[in-house]
Symmetry: D2
Amino acid sequence: MERYCRQVFYYETDKMAIVHNSNYLRIFEEARLFFMEKIGIPYTKIEDAGILIPQVDAYVRYHQTLKYGDELCVDVHMTEFNGARMKYEYQIYRGSDKALIAEGFTSHCFIDEQTRMPVTLKKRMPDANDIMKANIG
Amino acid sequence: MERYCRQVFYYETDKMAIVHNSNYLRIFEEARLFFMEKIGIPYTKIEDAGILIPQVDAYVRYHQTLKYGDELCVDVHMTEFNGARMKYEYQIYRGSDKALIAEGFTSHCFIDEQTRMPVTLKKRMPDANDIMKANIG
Amino acid sequence: MERYCRQVFYYETDKMAIVHNSNYLRIFEEARLFFMEKIGIPYTKIEDAGILIPQVDAYVRYHQTLKYGDELCVDVHMTEFNGARMKYEYQIYRGSDKALIAEGFTSHCFIDEQTRMPVTLKKRMPDANDIMKANIG
Amino acid sequence: MERYCRQVFYYETDKMAIVHNSNYLRIFEEARLFFMEKIGIPYTKIEDAGILIPQVDAYVRYHQTLKYGDELCVDVHMTEFNGARMKYEYQIYRGSDKALIAEGFTSHCFIDEQTRMPVTLKKRMPDANDIMKANIG
C-alpha cells in the first residue's frame, strides 16, 4: 500500500462547488502511477519498453464530497496481478479529518504499443514482473 | 432511450492516442443531461428549483478505444427511478461501424442545494417526478 | 470564416458556476479543427502525413461568462498562413443573445512527427497548402 | 515570487504525447493560488468573504513541451495590484534541466459573489489588500 496526497485544484470543482465526479478517475490514476513509481516500476520505464497499460474497467463509489481548500489522500493497493492483468483498489480520504470521501477500483491489462495486442509483463519485463508480484496486497 | 452523438475532441486524447479513461464519465454526463432535456426535464430546471443531483456511484467497462477523428454515439437509458434515486445505463458506440466501445452505469440521488440533505423529486417537483417515472426503461 | 456551436457541458463549469477559464483554449481548438475540416483539410489527414501542429502562443480576453444551459458559438478565422506558421482568431458568443463572451487568438507551427523539427506544409502537402492559403481571411 | 513544482500527470498529455496546451492555464492557476496561500491570503479566505476573482485575460507562449515523467516548476510573480485588479506573470521550467517550457500572464478583477459587480479588496478586505500590495514584484 502507498499513500498519495495533494491539494484539490480549483479547476477540479464544478458548479456544485465540489470536485467533479470524473476527476476521481484522474486521482485514481495519479495514485496508481505514484504507487508504481514507489515500488520501483515507474510507468515511463514500461512505456519505454513499448508496453501500454490501458484501463479495462473502473468503479467509483462517492461517499462524501471534496471542496476547494481540502487536501485529499489516497490509499492505493494493487490487489491482483498475474503478469497479464492487474487490479488496484483506492480509498480517498480528506486529509484534515480522515473522512472517507470515495472508494473504488480499476483493472488494467498490458498491450504492445505497436500491435496493440495483449502481452505479459512476465515475458517482456521479467524483473518488473517479479517486483509487481512482490507488491500485491 | 435516447441516442447522443458527437465528434471526439482532440484534447480528450492522451499519449496512448486514445480518449482518456476519465472522459467516459464526462461523456456519460453529457448523454444523461441530454436524455433529461429530451424528456422535458432539463437539469437547469431542477437546479432552478434548488435541487442538485450528485453522483452516488459509477462503473465503466472499456471494450475498445476511441481515437481523434471518431464520432461517438451513446445509447442512454434511465433504468431505475424512485423519486429519491435514479440509475442510468450507457453504451458508447463508434459512429462509423457501430462497434461497442464502452458501457457502464451511474447512480444518482437528489439533494437540497442549501441543506445538502436528501430530498425526493416526488415532493419537490411532482410533475417532473411523473415525467421521470414515465421514461424508465 | 466558419461558425461552430455547441451546448456548454456541465463538467466545464467551476465553483463560480461559470465555464472555467482554461476551457476556452479547448473551445478554440474545437473551433479551429472544425474550421480545418470544413475547408477540406481535416487534422487527421495532416497527422496521417506525419505532421503535427503544436500551439506557439495563445491569448484569451474574457468579456462575460458562460453558464451551464448556455449555447456557445465561435466565429473562427484563419488570419495568417505562410506554409510554416498560421494564426487563428476567435470570437465566442452566447447563442441566445449573441453577447460577446470572449475573444482571442492562437498561433501554430508545423513540425515533423518523428524529428519534431519545423516543416512547411508547402513542401510536404502542397495541395493542402494551396487550400489553406485560399482560406485566409 | 514563489516557486511551485509538481509532476506532470498522465491525463494531462494529449496524442502528441505532450501536456495539452489548455493545461498551462490550469498550471498557472495552481501556481497563482499557491502564491496567494504562501503570502497569507488563501483564495478560500477571499471566497469566504463573498468575493470572486475571475480571469480578465490570459496569454501563454509555448517554447518547449512537457512530457509525462517530467517535473514542472513555475516561477510566479504578482506584477500588478491596485486593489481592484491584479496581474500575474509565470515562467514554467522543466525541473530536471531548468529549460524554459512556457511563459505567460493572467489578469484578474475582484467581484462580489452575489451581485457579480466589481469590488475593491481595499474596501472589502483592507488587511488582505495591504498584504497583497506588499507582495507586488
